[in-house]
Symmetry: C2
Subunit: 392 residues, 2 copies
């Protein structure tokens, strides 16, 4: 194990009906809430009414900032920060998936800072203040409700960058699995792909000779996600499966499962962000395109980890026996591809609706991201090669 | 999954040499530290000198309260609280195992409260203030460095009770695995037994039909503990194995792995506490006596969980095939007993040095504990039966 510091001060509040306490918890932090949400879906499924009733009953004034899109954009975040300042908001309430919570974090930051908000994403400035934030997770995937990270796309420069600060942890993550039973299977598949990818990054790139606690957590939680997704294919309203995915989604990128396995070498996110920055594609859908290509690229370097993934997570023990190491790794990769296809998330650019991949543009951005995040060892040629192996 | 609230605000600071920052972190919280530790072992192995040098270099005044024993006693805790008040201590630093950290929590509480400290353990009063606490874990087992619980024995009444409050979380858990390489194998075995038992409680008693995230974490971390303990039998200085055990020890009873599997039904701790309250026996040694008896008692009710434990944690897949359910469960229990024997922790009262078990006294106390902790469904007859199955 490698040295690490880990602190997750967010309170997870899990269970059907936990939104009932949203108003009183918001009132502890402020009297004027900026309510950040996305499209109109929370109005259709009743979550908006529940949230508003709880806030009003607790005497909290509400200013609304709707319209956060998947892959939230800087301009909309800047509008939100300006609105928060004008309204005198002293607390931010996010209701939505990872994009909404990420946007709310950036708004909570922008509401307390002056100057160019993007400077925090390019790491020119560090965060010194932010409004307190409560997060209601409705599409579990990103762990944004339990972590200190916000990922925002600069629509002017087409860059998808992140900021991280302990001040950005939500105070409470409200996790009501009943809110997630109406998520369409397509988006459920993207979300589960994202959850798995967050655990794979450290699992495949770990160079540590003995990290069985982390390996065990990744393997156990990954199996839980796969089994629960398979249950949802049969019954998308299965509350038990939704519950497991919601809790896995909160933990996967919280920092817990990868703590101690070495640096944050997240090549798949580095390679995917340019896709969802350039195209109207869900982050999880971009990941299921990237991951098989990346595994093919990295096969010989991390074949032991790929085989272990197949044995422990995809439960491929018997089908792997007797094969060469390379053949085992190949079979694991193709089995993962088949699982992606089964749950309905794309594994090629074409399936993801990207008919003309912009490899030059992606490569430039991935290089910048790799430098910003400290992902070691990827040349421009390597990155092009991964995109080629993804079918570009 | 069941509803839950989980918050672990403690920062885990893991790695060789993390004690270097103890002084500066203490100085952020106070200028007069009460240093709580146990026997003289931290003086022999150099930890005491490292701690004192770090505290002094940061300009922190130190008042010492040594002498915490395994199963720390109320009288000694009360002395510590009085000393903290007299010395004007504004921060507590604990250096030791779970007993020391538990004692330091009670002292941190006692230093800010008046009246009878035991009232907090009998749940007559709730905690409203405590001095801030930093914990240096030297014998990982209890998760005390990452949780809000303090277990203290009242030497006058022979009761081993606990108090729990968010105010008792250590601010930082310093986890340096190099400090643990000199722990004798005997105490390492007790510690690992304790770590495993913390995860077993929820695993065996869970009535939840689908909690794969929690099951996966328990199975993964438990395998890590077993494999690492086996490595230490070959080389007790194995830093990789010590690291895995240290991190598993911090997580196992932090609240994380059992969150969402239902109530804190911890029968094994209920049954063991009376043993270590009455006899000079390590808590972990008491647990390895209790657990096989409790499994035999509960066998028919939780046979599916016992078999799963054997298959997923003890890797007994092949040896179980073809057996009846009862025979499978029996084989799992005897395999666990053999593992306890292998690592050197007792599985009978006699092996634990208890030649005349005080079943009447244990039973009275276990009944009281069960009521205090809310462990459902144990009659006096049940409890006597478990002790009988443990060989009493």
């Amino acid at each position: 194990m490698q040295p690490f510091q880990l602190q997750i001060p967010t309170q997870a509040r899990f269970g059907v009906g936990v939104l009932d306490s949203l108003g009183t918890e918001t009132a502890r932090l402020g009297k004027n809430a900026l309510l950040v949400y996305g499209k109109q879906s929370i109005k259709r499924n009743g979550v908006y009414d529940t949230v508003m009733a709880s806030l009003r009953e607790a005497g909290v004034s509400v200013t609304e900032h709707p319209g956060v899109k998947p892959n939230p954009v800087l301009a909309h975040v800047e509008e939100g920060a300006l609105l928060a300042k004008r309204a005198g908001a002293d607390v931010v309430v996010a209701v939505g998936g990872g994009s909404v919570i990420d946007a709310a974090k950036a708004i909570a930051l922008g509401a307390r800072e002056t100057g160019d908000l993007w400077d925090f994403f390019t790491r020119k400035r560090t965060v010194s203040a932010a409004l307190p934030l409560l997060a209601v997770q409705t599409v579990p995937a990103s762990s944004s409700e339990m972590n200190a990270v916000s990922v925002i796309t600069n629509d002017a420069t087409k860059q998808k960058f992140s900021v991280r600060s302990p001040l950005l942890f939500p105070k409470i993550a409200f996790l009501d699995p009943a809110l997630t039973t109406t998520i369409p299977m397509e988006y459920t598949a993207y979300a589960c792909t994202d959850i798995l990818s967050h655990m794979m990054e450290g699992y495949f790139t770990s160079t540590d000779p003995w990290a069985p606690v982390q390996d065990g957590m990744v393997e156990g939680i990954s199996r839980a996600v796969i089994d629960s997704t398979d249950r949802l294919l049969l019954d998308p309203t299965d509350l038990q499966a939704r519950s497991a995915i919601m809790w896995a989604g909160a933990l996967a990128w919280s920092g817990l499962v990868n703590a101690g396995v070495g640096g944050a070498t997240i090549p798949n996110h580095m390679l995917e962000h340019p896709l969802s920055a350039h195209h109207d594609i869900a982050h999880g859908a971009g990941l299921s395109i990237i991951i098989p290509g990346w595994l093919k690229f990295a096969r010989d370097r991390v074949s032991n980890r790929i085989i272990r993934f197949g044995r422990e997570i995809l439960r491929m023990g018997e089908s792997l026996s007797g094969l060469s190491e390379a053949a085992q790794a190949d079979l694991v990769i193709s089995t993962l591809e088949q699982w992606y296809k089964k749950i309905g998330t794309p594994i090629t650019f074409a399936e993801g609706g990207i008919t003309e991949p912009l490899v030059d543009e992606y490569t430039v951005q991935a290089m910048v991201l790799g430098k910003t995040w400290g992902v070691p060892g990827y040349t421009e040629q390597d990155i092009r090669e991964v995109y080629r192996l993804c079918g570009a």
